[in-house]
Symmetry: D2
Subunit: 345 residues, 4 copies
């Protein structure tokens, strides 16, 4: 089988670097273009010595020139770019017939008005919003398979949505009671020269941030509302933790139904989802078990003293929360088995 030619735009951030790692090793993909303003003209294996001697790592980063991307023969492009920027390139790439998997926030929201509310600027390409598919494969696999534009979810949303969606669909919880506390590794803040991200600033430090209305709330509430069939508003508290990668989310919500129904809803929803591991009642997922994989581990517990259900999830913010989830969508779009190229350990 001939490899599918792919491009990575914004390939020198942490998500971009993880996409490079996964796609260099993907048996059905070939990276033909990788863009990086900061590193244009340098080879991938020069910028990232970790990849030295891997076939394909000798490729040279180019400027984000969509003509050059198209000329490379790429038929699918991964966009690991800041929001706002991504939309501009996506438009151009789609015009050239290149399918786009966008890892930014630009196409995750159905309504341009919500984008403007949460991102503080007018949506850069509102006409494309109807085209885009929210790239959560466990929920939208069919639409992803045929999409020309996939909006890959944010890291926090993935960890919050997957445990909740089956319970909302079955009306097992009180939708007004949802509170999600998430802990994120530092790579989630991106690879940028910022004093607050220095080793010395983050090490031996723990803190909440981005309160009370983190941008990811917009897509979380959109997808929860879709599952519940009505508008849902939640409380979301992200925290920054001194690990390289990983997201650990604890969601509390009032149980309406029976605990056995919770387990049944989760197991039946995900029985064919190879990347969702249901650890069962009383288990506490640990991020160290999912880093560098596309797994999300989910546990749950019932607190009979308060009537609340605790939903516990762990994923890699760069993996199931970003790059490997995008590759999972790519596999669906290419008609490949969902697990192709996604190492399991």
């Amino acid at each position: 089988m001939e490899a599918i030619k792919v491009a990575i735009l914004g390939a020198s951030g942490y998500t971009g670097m993880e996409l490079v790692r996964l796609l260099l090793g993907h048996p059905a993909a070939q990276i033909t273009a990788a863009t990086s303003r900061a590193n244009a003209g340098r080879r991938i294996d020069g910028v990232f010595p970790r990849f030295a001697q891997l076939p394909g790592s000798q490729l040279t980063f180019i400027e984000p020139d969509m003509e050059a991307v198209a000329a490379s023969g790429a038929t699918v492009a991964f966009l690991a770019l800041p929001h706002g920027t991504a939309a501009e390139y996506a438009t151009s790439l789609l015009d050239k017939g290149i399918r786009v998997i966008d890892l930014s926030a630009d196409f995750r929201l159905r309504k341009a008005s919500v984008y403007e509310e949460f991102y503080g600027e007018a949506h850069p390409a509102p006409d494309l919003l109807d085209t885009a598919v929210y790239g959560l494969p466990e929920v939208h696999a069919g639409a992803i398979a045929s999409a020309s534009l996939v909006a890959s979810p944010g890291c926090y949303p993935t960890s919050i949505l997957l445990p909740l969606i089956p319970l909302l669909r079955e009306e097992l919880i009180d939708p007004s009671s949802i509170i999600a506390n998430s802990l994120s590794g530092v790579s989630g803040a991106g690879r940028k020269a910022d004093l607050s991200l220095l080793f010395v600033e983050c090490n031996e430090s723990m803190r909440a941030y981005g309160l009370p209305r983190h941008r990811h709330l917009s897509e979380i509430e959109q997808e929860l509302s879709a599952a519940a069939g009505k508008t849902i508003v939640i409380t979301f508290v992200p925290h920054l933790i001194p690990v390289n990668s990983g997201i650990c989310t604890t969601t509390t919500t009032t149980l309406k139904g029976d605990l056995a129904d919770v387990e049944h809803a989760l197991r039946s929803t995900y029985e064919n989802s190879p990347f969702v591991r249901l650890l069962g009642n009383e288990a506490c997922p640990d991020t160290k078990n999912v880093t560098r994989t596309n797994f999300i581990d989910i546990g749950w517990q019932y607190d009979e003293r308060t009537g609340r259900l605790l939903l516990l999830s762990a994923e890699d913010n760069l993996g199931k929360g970003a790059a490997s989830q995008a590759v999972q969508s790519f596999n669906l779009m290419a008609g490949l088995p969902e697990m192709t190229g996604l190492s399991m350990v």
Copy 2:
């Protein structure tokens, strides 16, 4: 002024070690006895090279022999021992006229039945429960000053109680809505040879644990109920985070009153509390600002979308959560200024 002679029982755990550090440097205290089963016969500066050349660090650890403790002239004893064990020694010390500051859970609960429910064994000295004072100086300063037996609070409870108590007293929040998510450094689990506490196991790992009914819930709910004047039950989710020390707690609760009243309640309650730093609305306390101090930093935010108040606190689990808080009580008991011997930075 002659120094007050003090003993530290269980001086080679992390809390004990922090007590040694603080009391070696305390201008009005002199350590005359330090017990450690594991290190009896060895000098403090041999077991903890960090303390070498500090006056007093040449003292030799002894077995936990209460006669020897009394013979050392100690008039106050700090107990940094496992629950169950502490009660036994406390009884003996009190009989000898030695005042006791117990950092274990043994005397924190008013009711032996609650102790049995949460700790799974009969209370070892129920007769002393009426005597004991819960050692949260910001709440019980007067009683602490004259107490013979102080039950110093747990690390999690301190971080949860101080932000909530003023709001419950003023009925500003819905008591049934309280959910506390706490992140703790690894020293909170104690200094014990346990596979799960190894560097390699904890590093690059984040997880919840101890669900759904952590033992500290018992004292948290006792003190919250006392503040509210009625029984309160909360949800509490502790997490283990790869830092040496620190607790970062995010508490969510439904606001009933006005946000301005929240600020007023906190500021008026703590205006004379030198160790409570109110960072104000929209601030996110960071554990790195409080480690090795007796400070607790508190911030708050109102989430108007959900009507919930977010209370954010940061302390050092070994400091305000354990050893330095116990020294604060010691200062009160000795009639010393509250801040004596408690370095502020």
Copy 3:
């Protein structure tokens, strides 16, 4: 092709766990037996949730019973056991016709007397020493391929030997001038419940240890002497560093020849060695580029002010320093391409 059945003895330590990871993913191997005294009766995926849902991870750990290992059909056994223990099982396995790759120190030394000198006890199976091959594939590939007993090198030795051997063979350096300073991640100390390995003890800590005569000196000097054709004695200083894995070694030695000859010797020796990456003059290898791989990265610099050559190497102590190197030997023994099953990134 039918999978080669393999056994892992001592599969629940850090090296054993890495062997499990590699061999679960190895396309030509099947784990048929995994022993662990501590975890006998539990499934691999129960002990190591990271491996859940990987084919093969449902296997149950057994006691180290060599009859059961043989009955599983294993034709190759990996021994990740303490020295002393390994020899006993190796003898039994070899008797049963099972080829052995021993990752302990038991068969690395040619002389039982040196073993006794460095390990403080009589060699447990001196008759086997002539049979064993030192499992450094870049040096002994041919002998490994046909060996029944491979003694896989220690983590420190691998990082020290590979840069030095070509230079000693070519007599480019003064053999009496070799000083190696190595930094190791904490997993190198093993997965054992030991106070000194706790997160809180290791984090924010750096120290030398094991001076002046670390056990690994014995095999380092044996192999260096073999390369030089005369007895070599070196200084070796290991340090413990708060990272999970990785070894960073800086070796200083007086240059006798020309710097260009150094580069030529290294490049010609390793031109067909896929796991040795020569970063060139002035490069400083970083452990983060080699963790979880079988690569060793090597750089060098000449200090003209002192006439000394600096050799810099980085590897994963659990990878090229232990488990993946053992799998590399396995591949040679099985007639497979050297890189089979060894992910490169």
Copy 4:
């Protein structure tokens, strides 16, 4: 006693921040001016919340205006500035009669030509070089006491010089054989927004850097040569390690004299040096025992197999390697006891 008024220039870097911490707590000093280009106009406790509620932390950072510094009444100025910049301000301050403790490299070297060789630019104030005293109190206490300009040593030099100087003076080691391998925490690289210093880049990473001729070599060799009475050239290999602070140095050198003489030389040299802790033969100093103090811990071992002496030292790069050592010099200059304001634990 009236407090001595002091200024800190460059007060918002890591060294500056540590100076702020120490001088806020110093019983005989009062900070009257703190400069920071980046934070001018903001209060110290706003930039560094850790210092909130400490007396003096309400001071507002000013631009580096020497007139304003003088107008604040400061009689001593600490310069925590980049080299090159420091010299310019020092000249102005000295002209105004303000004594200067410079923590940059600008006045550490006796010869402007050596400065130019190692720092790549002409010395900015060569006339002052004769005035400056190298601020290593254990070696130059007398000169420091009366100096108007103290050049406080670099972090690496302090850890290398103190163990070696007594041995060179007594001719106990071969001066041509000195090789120092140092491990530094990340704060040593400064508080600057640089990709290579991000948490994610440094965490789980170990590497050498700055080879083969780190700038600190110039002052190391100058002071070693002074002790030996002849020119000494050494090999120095610094490494970057994922801890916030600390330097761990291992120096190897060929022993000429007797091991007992080594111990005698060290003990007699430092018997009145309260901040040098000689741990004795076979001890391995650990940085965790010295962080946030002005101690340097020194151990040593003789490797009889090679005839080499191993000198092991640990200090805090921001403490004895920078800020607290500068305060130690300040104490000497002010005629205060050497330990004033320097917490010992």
